[in-house]
Subunit: 592 residues, 2 copies
């Protein structure tokens, strides 16, 4: 497999040329010290640590896997050293709150670094990803005391975090969890229960692990409104921040999985473990959602990262592997065959990967921008608008990035032919590793239901209109001849998406099943239209420069490919949604 | 994972009710002794051996894998015993030529048994699958002497076969192979070279392995017209059929793969090994195609088998796993949640699996019927027509069955949520195992090129018209009210496919790249229209019976789902094909 090289030029293009991040940062007090030079330097260092240190551990990590023995988990060879370098480099607190030792870098930057991490090594990336999410929830909901005690060590990477939601009988449906919390009367609670599928629940990378655990108090109401959130350290922490005795938390086993084998997926047992309430009693699910929304975006980015790494390898292979001849006559007559990049279908797969990965990267940067506005913008109207966009974009990013990430790694594997199925080339690992991203942090079906139900039908389409309006304004503001080939399909597909949104909202009144019957295909239509918007924005930034610089030329060709050969996909999906729920629901359960 | 239970009722429905196989068999001298009772008995026994003996070795075979040591390959525990039972039961010669000890059963039956085998255990199924293909090539092209010497032992399962085509630098492009054959002057040849990716090239199931090897004679023309086919036994065979000394054939190693881990994928070294010419000098590729066409269909059937097994498990899980509530109110208020089969999106995934697996099974039976007509029908006109259908159907079956098989196992895995990613449930293994079927025996891209180029553009659409005409006749002959909901979409989509076929044939004259640019999506459109035809035929057989029997009722609902929610997929594909080759070809190689 080709070594991984972060796509720095594309990242800089997005920040500086497409989204003009410097202007935004300069306009917000919290980010006014973030300069393009500083950001460039960080991206360059990120490129080095991911390419030189973390990516080389990807294959060996997969072969070796995380190992469980007697309650302890050993990460594969090299992980601990790499993690220490990562932590000492300050990467753990890159986006963290400066008040507690974080570096306060904007989300627009951290999403790009996250992509590098997943591309380099998805299993490795998950340990800090869970930690960063836990920090967010603690920072947003915990008491000042807990924040001071835990955040600096977590930002510093000295301690890691985990997220303990799922139980054997309770995954998507968290309302039925059984883990209990009892008040110890001293400001702490005793947590008892079993959690499964806990990523990084136990490992040897850090001296302590801080679990955020959903549990129910004895008198809590049934269902999702009776859930509270607790901070439960693996090792208790003294008031001065030093480590005390071990807490009653243990790792019962780890799962044997299809992929991300170097990431420990743990069964965690809490036997009256000492925990501390985060946020209000019975409002734990809302507090946990701070973390989950973060995790959803980052897991989406796992899809992008794996997709890009698969693309990099596939392009290299397609240029080197010779097999058959071009349909229009030999391209390299001096060799016994032409490189397979001459074949239209190989190019179709490569361009599908390239066009959707680059659009995805643009979209993740754009979502990062909205998150920065929500957090830092002085204007309330702007913040509110951005918040509504984030509400609809989060499930789209999580599900669409990972569905296409999976499709793309499968293309990347296919380009290698038989060699793609053999472990040594690394392409099959990417397929296995990215597959989980469609499942965890809420399956992509659950994301689609969130988008279609809570975010769209329940709001009467208000959030959607914020997005549609922004796109309309972009189209109106950029009416040049050269832009027409991108603006027309953007306008038309946005109109189709708007019609479809209205159709589902109307039908859902008559039949609540229409929401779930439309959701997955609706999310995909939404995703493709969003990517068309990203391509129009990238084309705008590239047009006029394409004669002098291959980077821009490549952008225009890729935008064109996306417009002409990928966008048609939505036509079938729209028709399928409009066929309605009946074909799904009429058949009796016993007839399956 | 649910135990595998072959779908006997559906198989009988296809043979007896949809395709009325008994009438066909009675009309052909070679099959006139094949009665529905006999076929039922065979299917029932097939159900037992696959469900009780072979399926239980699937998970353990994956965990243990085939093991290589010092040139020998050991199959996982239980494989040898199960194979012996299989061979002794006569299954190895089920479709074999009765003149050499085969049972002469029609292909319509053997395709169904093959599906059972792959569903039960894809790794296991591959050993006899390669053997059956080798027998076909030997029977069609080898000398009478070779046939008498090898076929009875191979049909009896005492010896296995393998297919040795690929070399490290030569996969799709067989014209550039380097393996050499030199005439020994005694009727034998000395074969020297290295072959890779040889399924079942070495193993411990049988006392001998008969390799069919592509090689070049010293004076052979360059390219595909200089390839000859040789039979090379692992152990030389005396004139009386007893085993002599070992041949100069050795297994250098086996591959470590994403899946089908219990199938040994071998590097085979031939060091002047003694071989015998099969067919004519320099016409080896044509002779090998007898085997390859067989393998292509059977590998397609691997897609069906894995898909069905994944479906069986997913339905069981969706009925048992409780999580969340139905959108229209609790279905099982006595429990804390409803079974997930109440959710529209879970049903969408299940029905996608069901509708495409059942249509695929129908299509494989229908292709089997055409193969039986080609082989046995007394009427030359019928044989010729069937031959043309088989020419177009073979690449469609191989690629479409496996592309949908992959999609379906991914759905099956998704329905299990996080549990689908854990090895113990078996769903992830099906995804890994079926993935190879899109790659080997000619990647699905190569199949699409064969369909679009050789079979369609090169013939000016003649073969396609045979199919279109058959469908038109079916539509004309079945104009009842109840059939309209299936006949109309069938007619319309067939018309669209016909238009698209004509469009590509025309464009290809102007630009040879249009063939490869259209091919994969064209094959999918072809596949979906073929499945629509299958659903119309199944609906015809089921209509009128649905009130009295749930089996027929399920067929009608599934046909409706397919028509309304799956068929729209082709609309996007058609538009994408018609966007043409330029968006793929215009970008310079250096811009990827």
């Amino acid at each position: 497999m080709a070594e991984y090289q972060a796509p720095l030029r594309d990242m800089q293009f997005l920040l500086n040329e497409v989204f003009e991040a410097d202007k935004l940062w300069a306009s917000m007090p919290a980010t006014e010290e973030v300069t393009p030079d500083l950001v460039d330097a960080i991206l360059e260092e990120g490129c080095k640590i991911t390419g030189n240190l973390i990516a080389p551990l990807n294959r060996s990590g997969d072969e070796e896997g995380a190992q469980w023995s007697d309650g302890s988990v050993t990460t594969p060879k090299g992980f601990k050293e790499a993690y220490t370098t990562y932590a000492e480099g300050g990467w753990g607190g890159l986006g963290g709150d400066p008040e507690y030792g974080g570096q306060g870098m904007p989300k627009m930057l951290t999403v790009l670094f996250e992509e590098m991490m997943y591309a380099a090594n998805s299993s490795f990336a998950l340990y800090p990803a869970l930690s960063a999410g836990a920090c967010l929830a603690i920072n947003a909901h915990a008491s000042e005391e807990l924040k001071q005690q835990y955040l600096p060590k977590m930002y510093g990477g000295v301690w890691c975090g985990s997220m303990c939601l799922t139980e054997p009988h309770s995954g998507t449906d968290l309302g039925i969890i059984r883990t209990k919390a009892e008040d110890n009367g001293d400001g702490s609670y005793a947590i008892t229960g079993t959690k499964i599928f806990i990523t990084g629940g136990e490992h040897d990378l850090t001296e302590n692990i801080i679990h955020l655990v959903l549990a129910k108090l004895p008198d809590a109401p049934a269902g999702p409104r009776g859930i509270s959130l607790f901070l439960v350290p693996k090792i208790n922490v003294n008031d001065d921040g030093s480590l005390a005795d071990g807490n009653a938390v243990s790792c019962g086993s780890i799962e044997h999985k299809m992929g991300i084998k170097a990431s420990a997926t743990c069964v965690m047992n809490f036997d009256g473990a000492k925990g501390y309430l985060v946020g209000e009693v019975n409002k734990g699910l809302a507090a946990m959602f701070t973390m989950m929304n973060y995790e959803r975006l980052t897991i989406g980015i796992q899809g992008l990262g794996c997709s890009d790494r698969s693309y990099q390898s596939a392009v290299e292979y397609a240029r080197e592997r010779i097999q058959g001849r071009a349909a229009t006559g030999a391209k390299t007559p001096e060799k016994v065959a032409d490189p397979i990049i001459v074949h239209p279908d190989v190019r179709r797969m490569l361009l599908t990967m390239k066009s959707t990965t680059e659009a995805g990267r643009a979209f993740s940067t754009y979502v990062g921008m909205q998150l920065d506005i929500v957090k830092h913008h002085p204007d309330e109207e702007q913040r509110k608008k951005a918040e509504q966009l984030v509400a609809v974009f989060t499930p789209v990013a999580k599900a669409f990035f990972t569905d296409l990430g999976f499709e793309n790694t499968v293309h990347g594997q296919q380009i290698f032919g038989g060699h793609g199925y053999i472990r040594e080339w690394g392409q099959e690992q990417l397929v296995r590793d990215v597959r989980i991203a469609q499942i965890y942090e809420g399956t992509n079906g659950v994301q689609a239901l969130d988008l279609m139900g809570r975010k769209t039908v329940a709001s009467g389409g208000v959030y959607f209109q914020v997005f549609a309006e922004e796109v309309r304004q972009f189209v109106a503001a950029n009416q040049t001849d050269a832009m027409q080939e991108f603006l027309q399909p953007l306008s038309e597909s946005m109109q189709q998406l708007e019609d479809l949104t209205g159709w589902v909202i109307e039908e859902a009144v008559k039949n609540p099943n229409e929401v779930g019957a439309a959701s997955v295909e609706y999310l995909h239509v939404f995703g493709y239209v969003s990517y068309m918007y990203m391509w129009a924005r990238m084309a705008k930034a590239a047009l006029g420069e394409e004669a002098s610089d291959d980077f821009y030329k490549s952008k225009i060709f890729t935008a064109r490919f996306y417009t002409k050969r990928i966008m048609p996909r939505i036509q079938g999906m729209i028709l399928s949604v409009k066929a309605g729920a009946d074909p799904l629901m009429e058949m009796g359960d016993e007839l399956f």
